[in-house]
């Protein structure tokens, strides 16, 4: 178990500008003792992956509420594999229809948290993953 804090990158891709969710999650993960880095709006998949490398994060959380999840998120996963950093935990939150959620999980997303998910549940999920790993 690491002495360092879990580092989480929170990202908004494309033109989706709904930020209430990501704002709440950022605060709740900080309250849970994690280090949170926020990319800001209008990121491309490559920008997100570059930020993940630069910030040396453990977790990437993508917030998607506009409906364009299938356009951007698989590209993030692909870029993570290309950079050989696909050992990071990738979670997605927002408005994600069930069928898209299944497809994203099949493509490598570790967990989907749709609207109404408890913030404590998200922090616990990250913590559990962290504790299981041999860090």
């Amino acid at each position: 178990m690491g002495e360092r804090k879990i580092r989480v990158l929170l990202a908004k891709l494309g033109l989706d500008s709904h930020t209430v969710g990501v704002t709440v999650i950022a605060q709740s993960l900080r309250d849970a003792g994690m280090e949170v880095i926020y990319t800001g709006l209008r990121q491309t998949p490559d920008m997100v992956v570059q930020a993940a490398i630069q910030e040396d994060v453990d977790v990437i959380g993508i917030s998607s509420l506009s409906g364009a999840q299938m356009q951007h998120i698989p590209k993030v996963l692909e870029r993570l594999r290309e950079e050989e950093i696909d050992d990071k935990l990738v979670i997605v939150g927002g408005v994600i229809p069930d069928e898209d959620g299944e497809a994203l999980k099949a493509a490598g997303v570790d967990q989907i948290f749709t609207m109404g998910a408890h913030t404590g549940e998200i922090a616990a999920f990250i913590r559990e993953w962290w504790d299981q790993g041999d860090r």
């Binding site: 033109l15 930020t19 209430v20 709440v24 506009s66 364009a68 951007h72 229809p97």
Partner: protein, 589 residues
């Protein structure tokens, strides 16, 4: 750009006790006091001794103001309530009872519906259907590439084209979108904040092409860029440039299309970002005054421009907070215009307000429950009175984009409240309620106090540049979320009466697969067919105007008519103004 004097807002009126507050009670009041004391001792207390109250304390949902068990004439006496000063008559200052003398007995509110998706053709078809179904007007929402000033083939646009609203790249799209039954349309609301001058120019050019007289209907523009920096995020240029182009639209419209509404302060967006009513009104009014000051600096008199200022609010589920908010909304605007700006015309002091049941009160869980919520909120809209238009969101909006059934139900909800309940048959029916009047006054006092805090920072633009609104909203968002998570605030289907293994059965609107392809095809075709020299020449004129201080709307109109794309026009301004990147403080996250 703060040119109008920012005098303290007659704060002595509510900070110092009014004579009636401190003077000894009248004989009637003393008798009431005695009667209440007796009632508490002999009637209430014995009843509570058998069974206590169901909660330890009662507070309002958003403000967390304590709610007493009983409100009596004493509450009004304590705040120095004066019927003429605080309430008055409908259509008269301070307009607490409404801005028109006869309220909804004369005209019901206009029934609007937010809508817009797909290509311009899809949208025109759906809007025409809605007008045939009895709506008088509608709000056009554009897709994210359009509201962010990108063309449909921009890399960031992928997956968003024609998704959350209508896609408009060039004048050709706007011509198609405005293929409507114009005899039925009274009110068109166009929500396109950051690229508003381009949007305005496209609408004007499309009307010209279709031979529609602009004065035959009211175009209402949101043009509300300062709200975007505060919470919505669809900004392009740094805030002061955003304010400049918004002011260009306002000035152009007032001078050329005096029956249109060039500015709408969508405080509903603040509300959607979890602003409580005091934050919503205080931030909203501060922002409204920033536009007003910038417009006055263009050489107008307050009474020439104030009547154009228009607002959109959203309501929460706490019924009395909602009603009090609407009543305070009108009164505060009237006081600001009269006391701060010295307005003389009634029209300057009469608030123009669209109110709508709020989307943040809707839940993803048990979505049909949202129909009940919409009904109750629509009732609060009607009882709060004085809104000239009400929009209904849709019960499945929390799920995804609204289905056709949801649109129909939304219209029906408004009609049920209008025709089946009788609430529209008398003006401001809750006036005089000890509770509602107390709460209306409290709302008013706290909003003025918060406006003064923003004034002390230098006004809304300075507050936005410093990240103040953003930080305050972030805190509200977190608090609100916690209240629901820890159950302090009950939400049915979310933390109360939760059903396990609940299935979503609601019909959800599915976007045609080819909308994005069709849109990009049309864009490519328009680009191929236009006169490139003319496009380059007109874009250069836009650049000159942007560098200088001439109004941007006329040169943008020339570029639009040459079929320059929205993205190209916005790019020219990006070059001149720069692009806004908030830091962690000013993003609020």
């Amino acid at each position: 750009m703060s040119t109008a004097p920012r005098e303290p807002l007659g704060s002595d009126e509510f900070e110092e006790p009014k004579p009636s507050e401190s003077t000894p009670s009248s004989p009637e009041s003393a008798a009431l006091d005695a009667a209440e004391t007796t009632w508490r001792r002999e009637v209430l207390d014995p009843a509570l001794a058998k069974q206590g109250e169901r909660q330890e304390s009662f507070v309002t949902q958003q403000m967390h103001w304590p709610v007493k068990d009983l409100y009596t004439p004493k509450d009004l006496e304590e705040i120095g309530f004066d019927y003429h000063e605080d309430v008055g008559f409908p259509g008269q200052y301070p307009y607490t009872r409404g801005t028109t003398p006869a309220g909804y007995r004369q005209d019901l509110w206009k029934m609007l519906q937010v809508t817009g998706f797909g290509t311009a053709n899809d949208s025109a078809e759906r809007w025409s259907k809605m007008l045939e179904q009895g709506l008088n007007g509608f709000i056009i929402e554009y897709d994210l590439p359009t509201t962010n000033g990108y063309d449909s083939d921009h890399p960031l646009a992928e997956g968003e084209v024609a998704r959350a609203g209508t896609a408009i790249d060039t004048l050709a799209d706007m011509e198609q979108a405005l293929d409507l039954p114009w005899d039925k349309l009274q009110h068109l609301n166009s929500v396109c904040n950051a690229p508003q001058p381009v949007n305005l120019a496209m609408i004007l050019a499309a009307l010209e092409k279709r031979g529609i007289e602009p004065s035959s209907f009211t175009l209402q523009m949101s043009n509300a860029i300062l709200i975007e920096y505060t919470c919505v995020g669809r900004y392009i240029y740094p805030p002061k440039h955003g304010l400049r182009i918004a002011t260009d639209c306002i000035e152009y419209t007032i001078r050329n299309h005096p029956n249109w509404i060039p500015i709408t302060v969508v405080s509903a967006q603040l509300y959607a970002a979890r602003a409580n009513p005091v934050q919503e009104l205080a931030f909203g009014f501060s922002i409204a005054m920033e536009y007003l000051d910038a417009t006055l600096a263009r050489g107008f008199d307050i009474d020439e421009v104030a009547p154009y200022w228009s607002f959109v609010t959203g309501l929460e589920m706490d019924f009395f907070e909602a009603v009090s908010k609407l009543r305070a909304y009108r009164k505060i605007w009237a006081r600001l215009m009269k006391e701060r700006y010295g307005a003389k015309r009634h029209e300057s002091m009469q608030l123009k307000l669209i109110s709508s049941p709020g989307t943040t009160g809707l839940t993803l869980q048990q979505p049909l429950n949202n129909i009940a919520r919409l009904g109750i909120q629509t009732l609060a809209c009607a009882l709060g009175g004085g809104a000239y238009a009400i929009t209904t969101p849709l019960h499945d909006e929390a799920h995804a984009l609204p289905s056709e059934e949801a649109v129909r139900v939304g219209i029906a909800v408004q009609n049920i409240v209008a025709h089946e309940t009788g609430v529209a048959d008398t003006v401001d029916p809750l006036a005089g309620s000890y509770l509602v009047e107390s709460m209306t006054r409290k709302m008013e006092d706290e909003v003025f106090a918060e406006i003064e805090r923003v004034d002390a920072m230098g006004g809304a633009l300075a507050a936005i540049e410093a990240g103040y609104f953003q930080k305050e909203l972030a805190r509200s968002q977190r608090d609100r979320h916690r209240e629901i998570e820890d159950g302090a605030r009950k939400q049915i289907g979310v933390n109360h009466l939760v059903q396990d293994g609940e299935k979503r059965t609601i019909e959800m609107f599915k976007l045609g697969q080819q909308a994005e392809e069709l849109q990009v095809e049309q864009l490519v075709r328009v680009r191929a067919e236009r006169d490139e020299d003319l496009v380059a020449k007109t874009l250069e004129r836009v650049r000159e105007a942007a560098i200088g201080d001439e109004n941007l709307v006329p040169p943008i109109m020339e570029a639009v008519k040459a079929y320059a794309t929205q993205g190209e026009i916005c790019d020219v301004m990006r070059d001149v103004f720069g692009v806004y990147h908030p830091d962690s403080l000013t993003s609020g996250v």
